[in-house]
Amino acid sequence: MNTRKHISHKFDEEIAAVTSSVLNMGGLVLQQLDLAVTALLTSDKTMAENVIADDVKVNTFDVSIDEMCNRIIVMRQPTATDLRLIMAIIKTTNDLERMGDEAKRIARQAIDISERGALPDQFDSMEQLATRVKEMLNRSLDAFARKDIEEAFEVIGLDQKVDKDYENLTRQQITHMMEDPRKIPASIDLLWSARALERIGDRSCNICEYVIYLVKGKDVRHIEMSELEAHIE
């Protein structure tokens, strides 16, 4: 990574400003996710409605960060690490915006469930999946903030666990539905929510791939985890 100061002081400021916007956006998405999951697990309709209303804040970040990147590209014609940083930011922002949408989706299911009701045992495994996904997002943002590729690799490794959690949860919901048809509506809502969480995990991995691209200049998208480390170095 290039840590030296740019000849143009203003350029350094612009880069710092857009980077911190991305991290603020990431913090907001993480908070949205946290609230949506809590609303789901506690059937808190008001909280879920707040999450849906606040998605507009995520979208505003998306637009303003794109604008900042456009301005940097047109004024500075960034090269090398700077270029890769701008590319990584544009892509990260896109993924964060979509994660915001997934959080909104979870909030919608939370409203459904709060109205229909669900039995407590139906929430089994949901908390574990949610905790793991929140950890992935949180750590992917850390990896981005610190340009830390070791952290990025670890987060990508976590995705397999999330996939396992998701599989388990699906199996449990199928069992619930077979046992008692009254559980079906809530189980479907929970399956949708789990799906949204699993997607957030995938998108956290994307962010980590951008971090690796940013630091190493190597595009590691569409490469199997087992081959990943061999591709770097």
Partner: protein
């Protein structure tokens, strides 16, 4: 594809200078490709370029050490241009390896005569043959449409960008194999610059090109390969995409991203 030129381990010292200006430089110039040289002022880019057709030797006493191979006209082997001695060999070399300078240098004569001048010197006498080559060269330099009705006007009446393209036409008329450009657009406005860049990418079809530029985006736009020089050394040479997106040397990264010095 064979290299058109190949600079190998070149060390060059100006006459009377205490230390060499170029140290152990190696640079291939691939056939029908554009090779760009970038680096801060005084790093030796122009010195290297001027060694490549030995235009330094217009003044005596410079010290070359190393090899500069130029593919023979029959494409069968290479000749080290540093071994050339006679005046005739030098003239032949500079016909084969043409050079365009930073400032347009039209001769104080008509547009037609500017281009015909070198041809006459090289022995072309027939008016019809001269006309053909002048027209073709002006076409190749993307100037024909602008000057076809005023070939007998004084060349100094052309705009800066047109003058520069005229100089390129003048070089092309002698059918060079390599064209060396020394900051050809630094004195031109952005639109004339684009016209020259466009022309260079077309010239690549017929010629091998080496260009020194201070405009890094220009190097990124028009070249296939880029060499980054600093303090008389070739720090990094590679495909232009790699140099600008993922340079392998810290110094290159610092220079192209504006964190130098």
């Amino acid at each position: 594809m064979k290299n058109m030129m190949d600079v190998q381990d070149l060390t060059f010292t100006y006459s009377g200078a205490p230390a060499p200006s170029l140290q152990n430089i190696s640079l291939p110039v691939e056939k029908n490709k554009v090779t760009a040289l970038i680096g801060p002022s005084g790093c030796g880019k122009s010195t290297l370029l001027r060694a490549m057709n030995r235009i330094h030797d217009l003044y005596p006493g410079h010290q070359y050490d190393g090899v500069i191979n130029l593919l023979d006209s029959d494409k069968k082997g290479y000749t080290d241009i540093l071994t050339l001695k006679s005046e005739a060999e030098m003239i032949r070399l500079r016909q084969r390896v043409g050079m365009i300078f930073q400032k347009p240098t039209p001769f104080p004569m008509t547009i037609f005569e500017n281009i015909a001048y070198g041809l006459r010197l090289s022995g072309v006498k027939k008016r019809a043959a001269l006309q053909d080559v002048v027209e073709q060269s002006l076409h190749d330099a993307a100037l024909w449409n602008e000057v076809k009705d005023r070939l007998n006007d004084d060349a100094r009446g052309l705009s800066g960008g047109q003058q520069q393209r005229l100089c390129i036409a003048r070089a092309i008329a002698l059918k060079p194999e390599v064209i060396l450009f020394d900051e050809p657009t630094s004195a031109l406005d952005p639109i004339s610059t684009l016209a020259i860049e466009e022309m260079i990418s077309e010239l690549r079809e017929k010629y091998s090109i080496c260009i020194v530029t201070h405009n890094m985006q220009q190097a990124a736009r028009i070249s296939d390969y880029t060499g980054f020089m600093y303090l008389g050394e070739m720090i990094e040479y590679g495909q232009t995409d790699n140099i600008f997106m993922k340079p392998s040397k810290k110094q290159t990264e610092d220079y192209i991203s504006g964190r130098f010095g």
